[in-house]
């Protein structure tokens, strides 16, 4: 079958070329998966929580306009400003305008996948602002001028020595050898930034419609510092982050950290209603394709995502190929759904970067049917829009041919016999094309002379010729 060779397999190959780094990456993420399992095992109600979370999110999505209005009304009541952005460009414009109007040039930012999605940092930097990512992992990749490779553990693809080299090269740090001293160095560097910042930009983990508040979860306390010191706080959120009631946080606060890092809860779970006294709070609610996704019945469930990263930690492919192999800001199983939906032609390889093992679906705290959607995207690529016409025709034609061959036992038998015969007589042929990608590293199975059906038919014929054989038991 024609195989569409695109970026994920090629990048995965580069990732795996460094065997030791790949081994570390896989082992580290598996350990986090294992810790998640332990946290889940502590709660007999774990599966009930997942079911509740899925239904709360599904309900919220179904009544999204009402909840958006309610959230806006309550947030305004507390003195927050609420903005709506159609897309990434509008989001960036709104944020920049808020900063420019107040003469802000120094910004601290805590982790927000939404701002990654919108490309906020490069946009603000182009306008001459200093934007410092304060999540340690995000700071490291920012200094290296590369994207994060995991939505929760941005620097998981790096070793300690890489971080040390980066700090020395970009911040003038002395040579440091361990995580403790590197973190200590970052602590003083960032404290100075927090204290000098004129604005703090954060993401939003949950937005509560009933109260108009936002919830931000971190382990480092960097979001809290960013909200507590500068006078201007800008909170950026996708419109799917809404929850109906404060009580719903009971469910999500029990699922999020356990799923994400294997902790019972993050160090800080901040609840913010309105600005600080003397300060300003601006909440920017972003669409950027989410409303369109809401209209897709078979993929709408992806909007439940709470960006925990559990699917990445469990995915055997992600662990062995790394986030950068996906070429999109949110990688892994959920990213392999979101990116192709946004841009099918650019991300054709992603739904195929998957064995359909289903582990992702089994860990997702909001029960997104991840692997089923990945399979559905394969069908969509073949039958639907996107994917160059010529490739579609080629693959579809080949599929039809195979279907025609395989539906006939006679044709299957002849085809199989020919392959086995060729494989035995001309083993060199097995080094070509797709088969070559097998035989480069794996032996083929020993090719039998006769198929099961051929042997079975022959045995039946032999027994038919000797019906009085007392040993015969078969039909």
């Amino acid at each position: 079958m024609t195989l569409v060779q695109l970026s994920h397999p090629a990048r995965a190959r580069s990732f795996l070329a460094d065997g030791e780094r790949a081994r570390f990456h896989d082992a580290a993420l598996w350990q986090i998966r294992a810790r998640r399992d332990q946290r889940a095992a502590e709660l007999p109600e774990w599966e009930a929580l997942r079911e509740l979370a899925a239904r709360i999110k599904a309900h919220t999505l179904a009544q999204l306009p009402e909840y958006l209005e309610r959230f806006e009304e309550n947030a305004r009541r507390h003195g927050a400003h609420v903005h709506f952005a159609r897309d990434a460009a509008e989001h960036n414009r709104i944020v920049f305008e808020l900063l420019r109007a107040r003469g802000v040039t120094r910004v601290v930012k805590s982790k927000s996948m939404l701002t990654e999605e919108c490309g906020l940092n490069p946009f603000l930097e182009q306008q001459g602002l200093e934007v410092v990512d304060t999540d340690l992992g995000e700071l490291i990749v920012q200094l290296r001028r590369e994207p994060p490779s995991h939505i929760v553990l941005p620097a998981i693809h790096l070793r300690t020595a890489d971080v040390a080299e980066t700090f020395t090269r970009t911040l003038g740090a002395p040579p440091l050898e361990d995580a403790q001293s590197l973190t200590e160095f970052a602590r003083s560097h960032l404290r100075a930034k927090f204290l000098a910042a004129q604005a703090g930009i954060t993401g939003v983990n949950f937005a509560i419609a009933e109260t108009g508040g936002i919830v931000v979860c971190t382990n480092e306390g960097n979001a809290d510092l960013g909200m507590a010191l500068p006078d201007l706080h800008i909170a950026c959120m996708g419109l799917e982050k809404l929850l109906p009631r404060a009580a719903d946080l009971g469910v999500f606060s029990r699922l999020l950290a356990r799923s994400a890092t294997g902790q019972a809860i993050t160090a800080y779970t901040a609840h913010v209603h309105g600005p600080r006294p003397g300060g300003e709070l601006h909440i920017v609610i972003v669409d950027n394709g989410r409303s369109a996704l809401r209209g897709e019945a078979r993929h709408r469930a992806s909007l439940r995502c709470i960006r925990c990263g559990a699917c990445m930690n469990t995915c055997p492919v992600f662990r062995r190929s790394g986030g950068h192999s996906y070429g999109t800001h949110v990688p892994g199983p959920i990213g392999s759904i979101l990116a192709p939906l946004r841009d099918p032609d650019a991300h054709q390889s992603l739904p195929h970067a998957c064995t359909l093992c289903g582990s992702c679906t089994a860990v997702c705290p909001v029960k997104i049917n991840l692997h089923e959607q990945l399979l559905e995207l394969r069908e969509r690529h073949l039958e639907g829009p996107g994917l160059a016409l010529s490739r579609r025709w080629g693959e579809r034609a080949l599929a039809q041919l195979l279907g025609w061959l395989l539906k006939s036992p006679g044709r299957t038998a002849r085809l199989g016999a020919v392959f086995r015969w060729l494989g035995r007589r001309l083993p060199g042929l097995t080094r070509w094309g797709s088969l070559g990608r097998w035989t480069a590293t794996r032996e083929l199975p020993p090719l039998p002379e006769h198929s099961f059906h051929a042997q079975y038919a022959r045995r039946r014929a032999e027994r038919a010729r000797a019906p009085s054989d007392p040993g015969a038991r078969r039909q």
Partner: protein
């Protein structure tokens, strides 16, 4: 022109199957010994528990090594005097070695405590202080987060800041090595009384 109106119209034009909002009822876990569970969970989060004998919080706090070694100890609790008045402006808290506050209640399931601006009027203090010590009444322990939010009730939606705090600031962003004391407090002790 704001995108708001167009967005709401787009969303309303989509017809989705209604999904009922579920009742938040369930057979939630309860702990026969909340204090033990709380202590164990907090320890796993790199925090620690000290118990005030006979409810003498002042003695218990002053006996803590982190307090004894502190040059600048700022107390926001009347019963325990510090040697430093709360700084006037938020940035001043960076010079505080130990900050003492009253936590409102704790959650056994995960070792977290709830604080809001009544406990820490200048919220920056909680994150700029080098070390954090929190007082917590033993009777103010709930089993799990559902109970926590029920206990907060409508107050959770009041204007201002509130936080579930669990252990000190930490990160494992460098090669998954746990480092305690990232940007916030380097240590956290909960004194139970």
């Amino acid at each position: 022109m704001s995108y708001r109106k167009e967005l709401l119209a787009r969303l309303r034009a989509q017809t989705l199957e209604p999904v009922p909002l579920p009742e938040l009822a369930g057979d939630w876990i309860t702990y026969p010994d909340r204090e033990a569970q709380f202590g164990a969970a907090l320890a796993r989060a790199a925090g620690s528990v000290a118990v005030a004998a006979a409810g003498d919080v002042r003695r218990a706090v002053e006996a803590l090594p982190v307090v004894q070694q502190a040059a600048r100890f700022c107390s926001l609790v009347a019963a325990v005097p510090g040697n430093l008045a709360p700084p006037g402006e938020p940035g001043g808290f960076r010079d505080v070695d130990v900050l003492l506050c009253q936590a409102e209640f704790g959650v056994a399931e995960n070792g977290a405590v709830w604080l809001d601006e009544r406990a820490a009027p200048v919220r920056a203090g909680l994150f700029l202080t080098q070390h954090l010590v929190l007082l917590l009444e033993r009777s103010a322990l709930v089993d799990h987060m559902h109970e926590a939010y029920a206990r907060l009730g409508a107050r959770v939606g009041q204007k201002g800041y509130g936080c579930f705090l669990c252990g000190p600031s930490k990160t494992a962003d460098i090669e998954q090595a746990l480092v305690v004391g990232a940007h916030g407090a380097r240590s956290l002790v909960v004194v139970l009384y």
